[in-house]
Symmetry: C2
Subunit: 224 residues, 2 copies
């Protein structure tokens, strides 16, 4: 067998800093079809477009609209959101702070795998903490992580309350709810800020699209 394809990791790289039985029998193996080969097959450049903002800010709505546009342009996309992640991969997680952090960590790692697969990944999670968004960013190469802050005043998000979650949170039924009894840390240098409180959906999508097009690195996204 072609086992010489397998290149042993040094013990340090293999995660020895963790616990004794973690990752110490893992070896790196050359994978012949790589990210650029996968993305090239579709004539696109892989990236993550990471939407962050309060519940009710419009992250999923914007991400859906953008995905439709990208798909119509022949781009190969995937949208990760609470629906497809919380019911499957992260169905073992609740909403304690630790579980919410682990939720986002896994989303970041899956995004990285999907970028490695050559996809344009859109993620739509509150992702309230700077540290977790920074973690997601540092998993990727320079320019591959585009943070989109869907900025809306809490009062407006709470007034919209499309899922009735703020009402529940105010009544104490949803502990650790972002904006109520858990903080939202606004991005300090998001690539794109969309203000859905003062713009219509159409205006927000148009602005988002134009900003994405303007981010030179992403001309290859061929957004119109």
């Amino acid at each position: 067998m072609d086992e010489d394809l397998m290149v042993p990791l040094s013990p340090g790289e293999a995660g020895a800093a963790r616990t004794v039985r973690r990752a110490d029998n893992i070896h790196l193996q050359r994978i012949d079809v790589d990210k650029s080969a996968r993305a090239a097959i579709k004539g696109q450049r892989a990236a993550v477009i990471w939407f962050t903002g309060l519940s009710g800010a419009g992250k999923s709505t914007l991400a859906n609209c953008l995905e439709r546009k990208l798909h119509a342009s022949g781009r190969h996309t995937y949208l990760l959101d609470g629906d497809n992640v919380r019911h499957g991969l992260n169905s073992d997680l609740g909403f304690t702070e630790a579980d919410r952090v682990e939720n986002i960590r896994r989303v970041a790692e899956v995004s990285k795998l999907m970028v490695d697969a050559g996809l344009i990944v859109l993620t739509a999670f509150i992702s309230p903490f700077r540290a977790e968004r920074r973690y997601a960013r540092q998993l990727l190469a320079e320019g591959e992580f585009i943070e989109v802050f869907v900025d809306v005043p809490l009062a407006i998000a709470e007034m919209r309350d499309p899922k009735g979650l703020y009402r529940k949170a105010r009544s104490g039924k949803l502990p650790n709810f972002t904006g109520i009894d858990s903080p939202y840390e606004p991005p300090e240098a998001a690539e794109i800020v969309v203000r859905t409180g003062t713009q219509s959906l159409d205006e927000s999508v148009a602005y988002l699209t134009s900003r994405l097009a303007a981010i030179g690195h992403h001309h290859s996204l061929a957004l119109v």
Copy 2:
């Protein structure tokens, strides 16, 4: 905002059977670009090709060879294996039985997401337990899960011992090692069985490819 895109889940569907704070504020949202749309953009049909077998059986080698072939045919593939999963998404997991089961559960869930993204996913994990392979299978639609049993006698795998793991396990340094002090439950009805103990790598790949082509459902994979 277009929040009427959001369709509330019934409480039962939303995971109420778990614990009180799990998944009870998740709502399904229509995602407009779906699996068939994503796969169609590449003229392929999404599926998981799930390699299972002892350490040293040749799973990763076969999966790599197959991926190269598929890629050369213009297919959009992704290979999940210990390297890209254990160092990232599952870096919090060790090798206790519980952690190994959780490792495979997450691989199954990520495979499902990637199939939803329209990819042909190859997975190369020992995945020793029937229950976990059954779990992976039932996440997918009929015909989307192709189990490839890389069948080799333990004696041969142990003789190859490409990573020195059997030696370590025999000396007691790797508890819960499949084939030594943890069982391998062979598939009872794998779609494909490749016997790498009695075939060369080229023969194994040729056989695997021809079997994949023969699985009528997968003619669209356009394997040669």
